[in-house]
């Protein structure tokens, strides 16, 4: 049997090297959310409830959906208090 290695010699286990931002989940969707800028009251509900962080919002302007990652679940359209979001095919 070969000599046992100490913790300094063994390689670091299971490091995940890439960011998931390189994996586009946007092609999962059937419907995409479109925000009506006139109706939007900038409450941030869509941003708060998006499971995929796919709504970009700086805290001030109208939020912008990122179709590269949006999976089209429609939670944002459902939770919008003024119904400013439409799901479009």
């Amino acid at each position: 049997m070969s000599e046992l290695k100490g913790w300094r010699e063994i390689p670091i286990g299971g490091v995940v090297p890439l960011s998931s931002l390189e994996y586009r989940t946007g092609d999962w969707k059937v419907f995409r959310p479109v925000i009506d800028e006139e109706k939007c009251v900038k409450c941030g509900n869509c941003w708060m409830f998006c499971p995929d962080s796919a709504i970009e919002w700086d805290g001030e302007g109208v939020p912008k959906p990122n179709y590269e990652y949006c999976k089209g679940c429609g939670v944002c359209a459902e939770e919008c208090p003024v119904k400013a979001i439409k799901m479009v095919r």
Partner: protein, 323 residues
């Protein structure tokens, strides 16, 4: 902690904690809980993840959605791994090994994230052990009420009467026979300083409780994670169902500070005004896994589910001194 959505948006734009591109299902409830958890961070954070939906789907090799240091070990030892992280940190601080190194941050929070399988069933002993030792971390349970990532098998968190692939609806036996395990009470019995239940639909309450949990470690947070896939719920109704779970008292919102129960948010309002409490049928009509309960011949089962929920709610009211 005052919660301001605009400030949170600015914070998350700079330091998201968890990013897009993870492969949790469309409309996933736990994904929303994870984002809210990242919003509640107060300093550098290490996330320890038990095996479960979140672990499997956020870190499919070679990609990771986490922007914070993250460690995964197994179903049964997530809390023990966190104990190790805390112990290693304490040792390095005591030995002053990195005291002069400005690149090494020694002041950080440890958060453990586990699903209901890793908490109710498989990981229970390691959490119990860690709380008994008083290791300083916060345990967040995202409860989607079955083993969802392996194909909807029942767990200790599955409610009475629910369909899963291992508790099918047949002619004699319809869904799960046992009630849900009272998980918060189990950990309150460990005399931890802080325990709470949260729902992503009531995010102000949720983020405040996450922050309180970080300030009073060791702590336990039971988050409600709607699973559209496993519960047979429409993807866009995730938040709606999470809201109804609180309004029907299926998942009441409360916190336990040093053993003292206190209702919060909507649950407090329902305790003060019982007419606001909705019947459980309102909650289950959205869910395919409870479809059989709404048939006239299964009225008995529906009444039994309502009875169990009322019983637990009344118990909670007594504990919280609202009765």
């Amino acid at each position: 902690m005052a919660v301001n959505v605009r400030e949170l948006a600015k914070k998350m734009a700079q330091d998201p904690g968890i990013t897009s591109g993870h492969r949790l299902c469309a409309g996933c409830g736990p994904a929303i809980v994870m984002r809210h958890l990242m919003m509640a961070r107060r300093k550098p954070t290490v996330v320890v993840n038990a095996t479960g939906c979140v672990e499997v789907a956020t870190t499919i090799f070679p990609y990771t959605a986490w922007k914070v240091p993250w460690i995964h070990n197994a179903f049964e030892n997530a809390a023990a791994t966190a104990s190790g992280v805390v112990a290693a940190r304490n040792k390095l601080v005591r030995s002053e090994r990195f005291a002069d190194d400005p690149d090494v941050e020694m002041d950080y929070d440890v958060i453990v994230v586990g699903g209901d399988g890793g908490t109710y069933d498989i990981g229970l002993q390691s959490i119990s052990g860690a709380f008994e030792r008083g290791d300083k971390f916060m345990y967040v349970l995202y409860d989607n009420e079955a083993y969802m990532n392996t194909g909807i098998q029942r767990s200790g968190g599955t409610p009475f009467g629910a369909w899963t692939t291992t508790t099918p609806v047949g002619r004699k036996i319809k869904g799960k026979l046992a009630p849900k395990k009272p998980i918060v009470d189990i950990f309150v019995a460990h005399k931890i300083p802080y325990a709470a239940t949260v729902s992503p639909a009531f995010w102000v309450d949720e983020i405040q409780k996450f922050r309180k949990g970080l300030e009073n470690m060791p702590s336990f947070i039971h988050a409600f994670g709607v699973c559209p896939r496993g519960w047979r719920v429409a993807e866009n109704e995730t938040i709606e169902v999470a809201k109804l779970a609180v309004e029907t008292c299926v998942h009441p919102l409360y916190e336990v500070v040093e053993g003292e129960y206190r209702l919060t948010s909507v649950s407090k309002a329902i305790a003060r005004n019982p007419s606001k409490k909705k019947p459980v049928s309102e909650y289950i009509k959205y869910q395919g896994r409870f479809k059989h309960l709404l048939k006239p011949e299964n009225e008995k089962l529906l009444n039994e589910l309502q009875r169990q929920i009322d019983e637990r709610w009344n118990e909670l009211l007594k504990k919280a001194g609202e009765y």
